[in-house]
């Protein structure tokens, strides 16, 4: 087995070393990535079952989806609904993988470079909650589509998850950028 590469600056140089974020943050990020992986695998493994479930829920709610009882028309509507249902699951898979890594990277920057303890805690909380919550919105949207339709499902997911959690993550990222820019400027 090969030996590890030596860290150029030495293992304990505090002036130039990254500081890890709190353990709960690491746990959330790793769990989010794991959920994304499981989500992607489940989508592939249970595609038929998921499609059958979404279709049967939609068929129980013809008024929600505008089903008229004419096979040609209804099949087209159901196909579009299933495409969006599948897209929601795929977007959850992709965003959860990405945001897990974004949480790891940005909270590490915050833990290392934000000097004020209160600001550091607030940024880490917003980056973690926003980053982990946002991808779940795609899962919520997918689940809502058969019950409430594509557009209404999207509106609910938007106000319930995407805007609050996505907004938190974006605000925290710009806050972090301002802090790092101030450090670059020497303040």
């Amino acid at each position: 087995m090969s030996r590890p590469i030596a860290d150029r600056a030495g293992p304990t140089d505090p002036a130039t070393a990254w500081r890890l974020p709190p353990r709960w943050v690491l746990l959330v990020a790793v769990l989010l990535i794991a959920c994304a992986e499981v989500g992607g695998a489940s989508m592939a493994r249970f595609k038929v079952e998921l499609t059958r479930w979404a279709r049967s829920v939609a068929l129980d709610r013809p008024a929600v989806h505008g089903l008229v009882g004419v096979r040609d028309v209804d099949e087209r509507i159901l196909d579009e609904m299933l495409v969006k249902f599948d897209a929601g699951l795929r977007l959850f898979h992709m965003h959860a993988e990405g945001m897990g890594l974004v949480i790891l990277a940005t909270t590490t920057v915050a833990a290392t470079l934000v000097r004020a303890a209160g600001a550091r805690r607030a940024l880490i909380l917003l980056l973690t909650a926003g980053g982990a919550g946002y991808p779940l919105g795609y899962l919520v949207w997918s689940w809502l589509i058969p019950y409430h339709g594509i557009e209404r499902g999207k509106a609910i997911a938007e106000w319930l998850v995407w805007i609050p959690f996505g907004g938190a993550a974006i605000a925290a990222l710009w806050g972090l950028a301002i802090v790092v820019a101030a450090r670059v400027a020497g303040r």
Binding site: S2, A6, D7, R8, A9, A17, V102, V109, I170
Partner: protein
């Protein structure tokens, strides 16, 4: 692990923030973006080769609007990805690459490479102003190829540095 210079960290965070914000803007303002893009195509009839035939012009406009949306979508996804690539790759450079000059060169290449997603913003804008083919060609030739090559060279240099790094005693 060793932290890279603050400027490199700042670029990584900015690229991530721009990528996230771009995705949110695209999602919330899709109809407005489509309307704006269609208006710009109509305002540049020669660049887009509009012929005055409604059917043909509609097809040209739809293709141009689709290209603009694709550019913005790639800006979002590549912004998220390249911000992370810069963060993790620059951390590896700071940790394992000996020699100030070699590290500086790799930081410069990786940081330029992280700006690659901006090429897709140029792509979207250039399609509207110069026409679909000319806009894509301009973004590819002058921005995407240059910045993408910098990223590839930086990563290749880092791979060489890791392969030749000395083991811990």
């Amino acid at each position: 692990m060793t932290r890279p210079p603050l400027v490199v960290v700042l670029v990584a965070v900015l690229v991530l923030a721009l990528g996230e914000t771009g995705g949110a803007v695209m999602s919330r303002l899709r109809p407005q973006i489509e309307r704006y893009a269609a208006a710009r195509v109509a305002a540049n009839p020669r660049a887009h080769g509009l012929a005055g035939s409604a059917e043909y012009d509609d097809e040209v406009r739809d293709r141009a609007v689709y290209a603009v949306e694709a550019g913005l979508s790639f800006f979002h996804t590549h912004g998220e990805g390249m911000g992370l690539v810069l963060f993790f790759a620059a951390t590896l450079v700071a940790s394992v690459v000996p020699g100030r000059r070699a590290r500086g060169g790799l930081y410069a290449l990786l940081t330029a490479g992280a700006l690659f997603p901006l090429g897709y913003a140029v792509y979207a804008g250039a399609v509207l102003e110069l026409g679909r083919e000319a806009g894509i060609a301009l973004a590819e030739r002058w921005v995407l190829t240059a910045l993408g090559s910098a990223a590839i060279l930086g990563l290749a240099g880092l791979a060489v540095a890791i392969a030749t790094a000395r083991d811990r005693a």
